[in-house]
């Protein structure tokens, strides 16, 4: 539980913005702008942030579908930051992805059998009992009817398609699975089933997950640690219970209060505690100076505009809890829109 499977140091991805016939560069989308993050063997790391914060880009960098414009990514101690497509090919067995959209992630012209056996084919994995058997075993593993191997994706429901995507990711028996919002597109009733399946598979195959989501509630159950991302930066990372108990970054606090609570008694209290996340996310082309959250932060002061807060341990937090904020939220603090905790309900 201690060794780092994947390590990112100062990783950046700037997408150039070009103009005209000659593709002159006139700027860059700083989708991921210097993140340090490590994924430990066997854990599930939740990665949370609003839309456009760069989560998917980070995931694609870790699987090296994208090449970082700066920084290093190591997998099992090996630097993979700038490996070529050919050099990456053998490593693809170890890192796999599960995608958000169960409709666009499966080729509509291929049968489920062709989709799930593609990884075996591409990586030349021998199948001693035949490809069909291998496919059927994988289908059974994710809870689908093995006899459905020659059906087409459109004949399955969203949840079933996501299971097909999971089976495809599992085919190579990877060590790390990057799941990019794997349940966001699913019905609420089916989300839990898919998350449960992922947990079962994690136990069975000793998988490590990076579980991307856009709200904190989805990752709470499955994650061991949670990282919060805002505008291309990690703003807070901590062990799961620590983070939910003592959120330090104002953005984390805001995200947490934006969580709808199903229990009606608690909802009453939660509503009063809601911190409004006002305004839009600024453009990643021209992020605010200093702390990127300052344009929406109720605690912002002058220093926030001039000095970028480093991601370090704050207050009396454990070493594993890092926050990038000059004025971290203390436990009983009065937050805008949130009454002091002492007020009786």
């Amino acid at each position: 539980m201690s060794e780092n499977l994947l390590e990112a140091t100062g990783v950046e991805k700037h997408f150039p913005i070009t103009k005209g016939l000659f593709k002159r560069q006139i700027g860059a989308v700083r989708a991921v702008d210097g993140i340090d993050l490590s994924i430990r063997t066997g854990e599930t790391l939740g990665l949370v942030g609003e839309s456009g914060s760069g989560k998917s880009t980070a995931g694609r960098l870790f699987t090296r579908i994208l090449e970082p414009t700066a920084g290093t990514i190591t997998f099992e101690g090996e630097d993979i930051s700038h490996k070529s497509v050919t050099q990456m090919r053998p490593l693809r067995r170890d890192v796999q992805m599960i995608f958000q959209d169960p409709y666009s992630s499966l080729n509509p012209r291929h049968t489920v059998g062709a989709i799930i056996s593609a990884p075996l084919q591409i990586q030349n994995i021998p199948t001693p009992n035949g490809v069909k058997k291998a496919v059927q075993d994988l289908l059974a593993l994710v809870g689908l009817n093995p006899e459905h191997y020659n059906r087409y994706p459109h004949e399955f429901s969203g949840g079933q398609r996501q299971r097909i995507g999971i089976a495809r990711a599992l085919a190579l028996r990877p060590k790390l699975i990057i799941a990019d919002e794997p349940v966001s597109a699913l019905d609420v009733s089916i989300q839990a089933q898919v998350v449960n399946l992922m947990e079962d598979l994690q136990r069975e195959f000793n998988l490590t997950y990076l579980f991307i989501a856009h709200d904190l509630s989805v990752v709470r159950h499955i994650s061991d640690r949670v990282a919060v991302m805002y505008l291309g930066k990690i703003v807070e990372v901590a062990d799961r219970d620590d983070l939910y108990k003592n959120p330090r970054h104002p953005y984390t606090v805001a995200l947490m209060s934006a969580v709808p609570v199903p229990d009606p008694v608690r909802r009453d209290r939660a509503q009063r505690e809601r911190v409004l996340l006002t305004g839009d996310v600024p453009s990643p082309i021209n992020p605010p100076s200093g702390c990127r959250f300052r344009t929406r932060c109720w605690k912002a002061q002058e220093i926030c505009a001039t000095e970028e807060p480093p991601l370090i341990t704050r207050l009396d937090d454990p070493e594993s809890h890092l926050t990038a904020c000059h004025f971290p939220v203390v436990n009983d603090e009065t937050v805008a829109g949130r009454r002091p905790a002492a007020t009786p309900a």
């Binding site: 067995r93 079933q160 299971r163 509630s217």
Partner: protein
């Protein structure tokens, strides 16, 4: 998002196979999947208009192939004069409706008395050959360049897109007229008829590829962003596999549809070129050429104009109806 922080996911009593659709499938006997091809065919069979168009198209193709046989059975050779069928003073066909009779099913030409039935059949042969072959040329070039532009992007895309814009703006008819007047009458040892067919196929096919190219480029651009392509990449697939296994099967439907829809355009272009006198050289028949000949007689022998004109109209309409039906049937959105 209702997986609230308080909602424990493990509490839910759900087995992994509890998806609604899965349960429904349990009872079904048929396990084999229905491919999109089968679904499209099923849909096309219900579309009566498209089906009628398709039947006419097939009928025309059969007629064109069997033109020599049918002419021998029910017509006369295309360059055989029948002056006995012509009114010597007016030089119009004897009898009603342009000389339609038991021996001359579609009447005869004014002045020469040649059999229109035979000439229409051979004209169908020319029209369809030119239209199909040039559509094939357009599709082949358009698919290759459209794929390259969409898949490779960057400067390749810029160059190909500019070339397509240029060709679409180019005065194709003028170019064809100029080209035909400088080329020899026979090339590659083919007779004058097939030599000209070859030239027409080259010109129409070449100027037609940007239409297909644009469609393929656009589709490739949007497909390239789909997650299944990324999935294939993250599995370590090489570019040829992504192109031919992932992208091309999804492009087959639009390519088929637009090839079908470019055929009627080609028929019209061929007719226009023949009408302008740079099509198939006489005495070989073509619908456009017959139409052109008929202009001089339209007031005294309207049938001579109506028959080739009607053939062009019916053929173009049939191809368009069939092509539209095919597009609807293959549309992945209307599943």
């Amino acid at each position: 998002m209702s997986l609230g922080p308080e909602a424990s996911i493990t509490d839910e009593t759900t087995t992994p196979t509890a998806d609604a659709a899965e349960e429904r499938d349990r009872g079904e006997k048929a396990i084999a999947g229905r491919s999109l091809k089968q679904i499209a065919w099923r849909r096309l069979k219900k579309d009566k208009v498209a089906l009628a168009g398709g039947i006419v198209v097939i009928f025309l193709i059969v007629v064109a192939i069997l033109a020599p046989v049918l002419t021998r059975l029910w017509g006369h050779p295309i360059d055989e004069y029948h002056v006995d069928q012509i009114d010597p003073t007016l030089s119009t066909p004897l009898g009603k409706l342009g000389g339609i009779s038991r021996h001359f099913l579609l009447g005869v030409e004014p002045t020469s008395g040649r059999d229109i039935f035979g000439r229409i059949l051979y004209g169908a042969q020319t029209s369809l050959t030119v239209a199909f072959l040039s559509a094939f040329v357009s599709t082949a070039i358009g698919t290759i360049f459209g794929l390259a532009a969409g898949f490779l992007g960057g400067w390749v895309d810029s160059v190909i897109s500019r070339v397509m814009d240029f060709l679409l703006a180019f005065p194709q008819l003028l170019f064809a007229i100029a080209l035909v007047s400088v080329l020899p009458d026979t090339i590659l040892g083919l007779g004058d008829r097939w030599s000209r067919v070859l030239v027409l196929v080259g010109v129409i096919g070449f100027f037609g590829w940007p239409y297909i190219g644009r469609i393929v480029r656009g589709q490739t651009l949007s497909l390239r962003e789909r997650e299944f392509v990324e999935a294939s990449r993250s599995l370590g697939a090489r570019s040829p596999r992504i192109l031919f296994r992932e992208l091309l099967p999804n492009l087959a439907a639009p390519i088929l549809v637009y090839t079908t829809l470019i055929i009627p355009t080609n028929i019209l272009t061929e007719a226009a070129l023949s009408f302008l006198g740079v099509g198939i050289p006489p005495p070989n028949p073509s619908w456009g050429g017959m139409l052109s000949d008929a202009v001089a007689f339209y007031s005294i022998d309207p049938m001579y104009m109506i028959i080739p004109g009607g053939m062009i109209f019916i053929t173009v309409l049939a191809f368009n109806l069939f092509g539209d039906g095919l597009r609807d049937a293959l549309d992945p959105k209307a599943r």
